[in-house]
């Protein structure tokens, strides 16, 4: 049993995974205010769950599982909102004048496109974008590797179509 109980250890882990947490939040919620809220909820869930961590899987897998279940919880609690809802306003924002403007625009398009994927495909896509392999994804989502492969293939196809439609 390797549970993490010290607040300093938990805070360090949250800080380490914060970029992944905030990106996952953007993948589940495309409205900025709610996305920030969700990121905080994800951080809180990770904080609370660390004491329950044991050696059943790697810490990495465990934290991703917590993050994605909090995303599911967010969808459940916000059931009044269609999960396929697309915030077009995000696409219409004028790009920043710096040289990274094009990249910023592409990032926004990617976030919007990921948000448009059905939940089952979105989850594998979010994990793949974070460079997890199929075995790790199957452990995080609790599905077989073969299922991960099928979902990933479909997710890539749909994402390509969505991105092509935006350009």
């Amino acid at each position: 049993m390797v549970s993490i109980t010290k607040d300093t250890e938990k805070e360090a882990l949250i800080a380490k995974f914060w970029p992944q947490i905030s990106r996952a939040a953007a993948g589940y919620e495309n409205r900025p205010a709610l996305s920030d809220e969700l990121a905080q909820e994800m951080a809180l869930s990770v904080w609370r769950s660390l004491e329950g961590f044991n050696d059943q899987c790697s810490l990495n897998t465990y934290i991703y599982r917590v993050i994605h279940n909090t995303g599911i919880d967010h969808i459940r609690r916000h059931s009044k909102i269609s999960e396929d809802e697309l915030d077009e306003a995000m696409l219409c924002e004028s790009p920043t004048p710096e040289k990274s403007a094009l990249q910023a625009q592409r990032q926004k398009q990617l976030i919007v496109a990921v948000n448009q994927l059905p939940l089952s495909l979105r989850q594998v896509m979010l994990l793949k974008l974070e460079d997890l392999n199929n075995i790790e994804m199957s452990e995080v989502l609790g599905i077989s590797e073969a299922n991960v492969g099928v979902r990933l293939h479909r997710a890539k196809e749909q994402l390509s179509k969505l991105l092509a439609g935006m350009n």
Binding site: I14, W18, R23, I72, D73, Q107, S120, K156, L159
Partner: protein, 186 residues
């Protein structure tokens, strides 16, 4: 999409602007506050139900109401208590699930929570229909006994409209919750 294209997408995804990390002590305090508010709401509802039931029964006994009105008050009291008990049982079960450590790691808990929510929406729909039905019977009985009054009819029409709007709202919420359950079960 080939591997190279996907790697580009992946690096684009990972290079998104970093948001400032929240202060965990503040987040933890807010979470505790929400828990207190949730319990407080439950207590307020229970207290309101007890006070209302007491007022209805005492006014009925003191004023010596006629049989039809007494029957109506009895029905409303029993109706409210039954709904409160059934809804509270489901809510307490949900609270227990929300407090459990597994909420963060098990999708089954989320399915159970959404099933509880569907149960509560169904309960609200059926209870409101039952209320409407008995309310109509009560009014027909009153008209039969005391004759027709236009003022009463207007008030009752507004109340009925409110009840039908409530049912519409419950049905929509129930449908959305079922859609979410379907998505989770995919």
């Amino acid at each position: 999409m080939d591997n190279n294209e996907f790697e580009q997408l992946s690096s684009l995804w990972q290079s998104t602007d970093k948001k400032p990390m929240p202060q965990m002590d503040k987040v933890l305090k807010r979470h505790k506050r929400q828990g207190v508010i949730l319990r407080l709401n439950l207590c307020i509802e229970m207290l309101a139900l007890i006070v209302l039931t007491y007022l209805l029964i005492t006014s009925a006994l003191n004023n010596g109401l006629e049989f039809i009105k007494l029957t109506w008050i009895s029905f409303v009291t029993v109706w409210a208590v039954i709904i409160f008990i059934l809804a509270s049982r489901s809510r307490l079960d949900s609270l227990k699930q929300l407090k459990s450590q597994e909420i963060s790691t098990s999708i089954e808990i989320h399915k159970k929570l959404i099933k509880n929510e569907i149960y509560r929406w169904n309960l609200n729909i059926k209870a409101t229909w039952a209320f409407i039905l008995i309310f109509m019977v009560f009014n027909i009985a009153l008209i039969y006994q005391n004759g027709f009054e236009l003022n009463n009819l207007l008030t009752e029409a507004v109340l009925m409209a409110g009840l039908f709007i409530s049912i519409f709202f419950f049905v929509i919420k129930n449908k959305k919750a079922k859609e979410i359950l379907h998505t989770l079960e995919q």
